[in-house]
Subunit: 254 residues, 2 copies
Amino acid sequence: MGRASKGRPTDRPAPLIVMVRPQLGENIGMAARAMLNCGLSALRLVGPRDGWPNERAWRAASGADVVLDEARVFETVGEAVADLEHVVATTARNRELVQRIVTARQAALDMRGWIARGRKVGILFGPERTGLSNDDMVHADTALTIPLNPQFSSLNVAQAVLIVAYEWAAANDATLAERLADHATRPASKEELQNLFDHLERALDQSGFLRHEAMRPSMVLNLRALLQRAAMTEQEARTFHGVIKFLSKHKHEE
Amino acid sequence: MGRASKGRPTDRPAPLIVMVRPQLGENIGMAARAMLNCGLSALRLVGPRDGWPNERAWRAASGADVVLDEARVFETVGEAVADLEHVVATTARNRELVQRIVTARQAALDMRGWIARGRKVGILFGPERTGLSNDDMVHADTALTIPLNPQFSSLNVAQAVLIVAYEWAAANDATLAERLADHATRPASKEELQNLFDHLERALDQSGFLRHEAMRPSMVLNLRALLQRAAMTEQEARTFHGVIKFLSKHKHEE
């Protein structure tokens, strides 16, 4: 608790995480780390078994101290959610309660909508061994279940926090699903590629590789398609000019 | 290693997980647990620092022994991916390599497509401290980065395995994003609701609650809208009939 936190929370409004009767300090710490990884920083603890503060939590947080330093402790779930307007409860099992059940992904979309309208939102996570009780669940507007391998669905509480927090981050993330890391350089222009194809074609003609007139057209087209597919940068196109030049210049005997 | 595994893998074809030069047995075990949670079971290890088998891995796997029991060990990344047709490499940093970079979600969609076409797919995860080197990355068709809090993005390797495996599971999951847990009972029919509204209206008339003719119509409509919103089950509708009956019968003095 002494050392400064490595992590900084993002200042965008986000859901609170409420850990109900957590047992192991390590799990509280790992949950704090997972929260901060995903831009969440407000943590509430209801009756932590080993008391609070708990050194083991800080040791397991890998620098997410800001989350633990500012965690608030409550005696009951009711007190912990009193100031919230929407509550989501994570549960592995299906309960007797008649409740709206959503996937972690749908919950993230719900929460994004609520928070965009300025609502205060919290997510409940139950104790390691038993999960949330019906008395806990009834505080929630929505039950959240993470679809997993039915043969092996037992998830550590910190892992559950990670997945739910990750879905929140993903629902609010603007990262392109797909991009090309082209760093200093830029994609080759079609003209640059055209010049490269022409260079290759000339070299292959001189080498005799295209000597069979009948096969020549499809051969040329297929080689072009292959090089198109590589989506070269202009730098790589220049490199490839050199490759052709040197291969055709320095013939080695066979 | 002696005890039988609690978990069973699903038999649907899925990507292999390749952990490159992992340092801590605990992380290998937690990764195995995360894999099995998400229906993955094929694990390959490249040069695990503390040798293999490693008791610490089995202790951390919480029953996902089947993954560890069947894990294969290789000396180099090249050997570990030799029989694969598509390789995805997870990386936090942006490399010098010009490579296609996708989010974890996009990678899951890519892999679903490849595997649907019968391709053998593997996902590389790097060592705890350093991550994958460029020499490792160059084996991959695609680089995968998980968008996280830029202020605090360092993710434990087992957590990274969990998120990537979770996205795989989510991309192949048929769970309804949203449903109502209505267990034994069924939603109330509109006729049952109509009867309930009529019952309530009569009771409120008798009680004098609706005595102001001008306000009556909007009052009745708003109460109906409220009860509609609750999306009652037929069981709850019957319960509510009782509530109205008893409230209006047993008047308490004020």
